[in-house]
């Protein structure tokens, strides 16, 4: 390790200089956007999945293709588009919304799979008990579908995490770009970018451990 740091000319002063900036942008932007967008994605994804299933065919088909389009095109382009289309909203708000919407199209697929995985017999039981559509969804289908989707939601949150650098195109400087800007000002890039990688790793590894455990527990219970 020592020889590598020597070969790379690793500078500890630079390390301590840049770390506070990285941590603060991590908390104020990366984490904020990830958490709020995850919430939006979780809710909107469910709405999309239910629309696809319950809405009249023309509406369902329209929603499906819009969701496909959003899912299959780069988020950068969507950010830019929204940024110039909605001038009254500031960058971070647009970032949170677009990340939420983009990932909701992925989440809707997860929910769809979760809903499909609810055994046919459960639906039949609700009919046999004369349960209303609303009660069927809220008391039986969603609670069962949700369990299977929590791990996926966690994985998407981690993946969203790593998409946040794209926010720069709409003027939001998050951790990676804060590191790059620091590099541009001082011409020292190795320290900031390596630290960025380490912070990502420190944040996503426990999340993935947690997801793994959740996956096991939920699988056992149902």
């Amino acid at each position: 390790m020592i020889s590598i740091t020597t070969a790379l000319d690793w500078n500890w002063d630079t390390t301590w200089d840049v770390l506070p900036t990285l941590l603060s942008t991590f908390l104020k932007v990366t984490l904020l956007v990830t958490v709020l967008s995850t919430l939006i994605a979780a809710l909107l994804g469910l709405v999309i999945a239910m629309t696809l299933r319950l809405a009249p065919k023309p509406i369902a088909v329209t929603v499906k293709w819009i969701a496909n389009f959003i899912r299959m095109t780069p988020i950068v382009v969507q950010l830019l588009f929204a940024y110039y289309a909605f001038l009254s909203l500031d960058g971070i708000t647009i970032g949170i919304l677009i990340f939420g919407i983009h990932y909701s199209t992925y989440m809707s697929e997860v929910y769809r799979a979760g809903i499909d995985a609810v055994p046919q017999g459960q639906w039949e039981a609700t009919t046999a008990l004369s349960m209303s559509t609303r009660r069927t969804w809220t008391a039986v289908i969603i609670p069962q579908a949700l369990r299977a989707t929590i791990p996926a939601l966690g994985n998407y949150a981690v993946s969203m995490f790593k998409d946040t650098p794209f926010l720069l195109v709409i003027g939001v400087v998050e951790m990676v770009n804060a590191g790059l800007i620091f590099g541009g000002n001082t011409y020292r890039y190795i320290e900031p970018l390596t630290l960025v990688g380490i912070i990502f790793l420190l944040a996503s590894y426990p999340t993935s451990l947690l997801i793994g455990r959740l996956e096991k527990r939920l699988a056992f219970n149902t």
Binding site: E124, T127, L129, M131, V140, P143, Q144
Partner: protein
């Protein structure tokens, strides 16, 4: 009273039920027997409105179930009307289909509270009575997945009874159970048959049970009723060759019969 009038059911090109006409009187216990694929389950599913007939009408106490004839045309009844009539029918499935996200008690009070609009207290009192009846009063707070198959099926029966149905549909309710446990569940059903006057439509491979409980047996084959008789007649003196073959296959050779110990 359940009445099937000219019922036809097909899946795509595959005709499953063919001009079916029969009726079940109030308080009747009718068993449907017949080879796999003969359409027994389909009949129960039609009554429970899990499927729609391709043609024909089903009446419950004279009221049309899903479709009625209006101006010479077959038209669907409103969802609300269908729902009202469906409340009078209960069903127990082969695979129990308990809700795994609810406790045993919650499973049972779900429909009384949210469909019949009973208070939670009232529904709970009744649910506990039913659990008592099926011998599971101590499991009320447990999770269905922590119960054995036989116990789950008993909860499913209690759940169906909680709606106080006039008609109870039972589709091979013991065939997912261990042979040794089958008896418990059949015992409970026997008890219900003896102590209530619920109309029962039963699909089963347990000929013993069919004999004990039902007052009428319908033998199905290829989507048609091939023979109809009280169980005493059906099992000892079947008329049709198809029935004879079927009973022979299911019950085994007469001379090989086990249990004469």
């Amino acid at each position: 009273m359940i009445e099937f009038r000219d019922i036809e059911k097909s899946y795509g090109d595959h005709l499953v039920l063919h001009e079916l006409n029969f009726s079940v009187a109030k308080g009747d216990r009718v068993t449907l027997i017949g080879p796999s694929g003969s359409g027994k389950t389909t009949i129960l599913r039609l009554v429970m409105t899990l499927e729609e007939a391709t043609d024909g009408y089903i009446f419950i106490d004279g009221q049309p179930l899903t479709h009625e004839e209006r101006g010479g045309k077959r038209v669907a009844r409103s969802k609300k009307d269908q729902k009202d009539i469906r409340k009078r029918i209960g069903m127990v499935f082969q695979q129990f289909n308990l809700f795994p996200n609810m406790s045993v008690l919650e499973n049972i009070i779900e429909a009384p509270v949210h469909v019949l609009g009973q208070s939670k207290a009232e529904a709970t009192t009744r649910a506990m009575e039913l659990l008592e009846k099926v011998g599971l009063a101590d499991k009320a707070e447990q999770h269905p997945t922590s119960l054995s198959g036989g116990q789950q099926q008993r909860v499913a029966i209690a759940r169906a009874l909680a709606l106080d149905p006039e008609i109870l549909l039972l589709d091979e309710v013991t065939s997912a159970l261990d042979p040794e446990i089958v008896g418990e569940v059949l015992g409970i059903l026997r008890n219900i048959a003896e102590t209530t006057d619920i109309t029962m439509l039963i699909v089963t491979h347990e000929m013993q049970f069919a004999r004990d409980v039902s007052n009428r047996v319908l033998m199905f084959d290829g989507g048609k009723i091939v023979e109809e008789a009280p169980p005493s007649v059906m099992f000892s003196d079947p008329k049709h060759q198809r029935t004879k073959d079927f009973l022979h296959a299911v019950l085994g050779d007469a001379e090989g019969t086990i249990g004469t110990h």
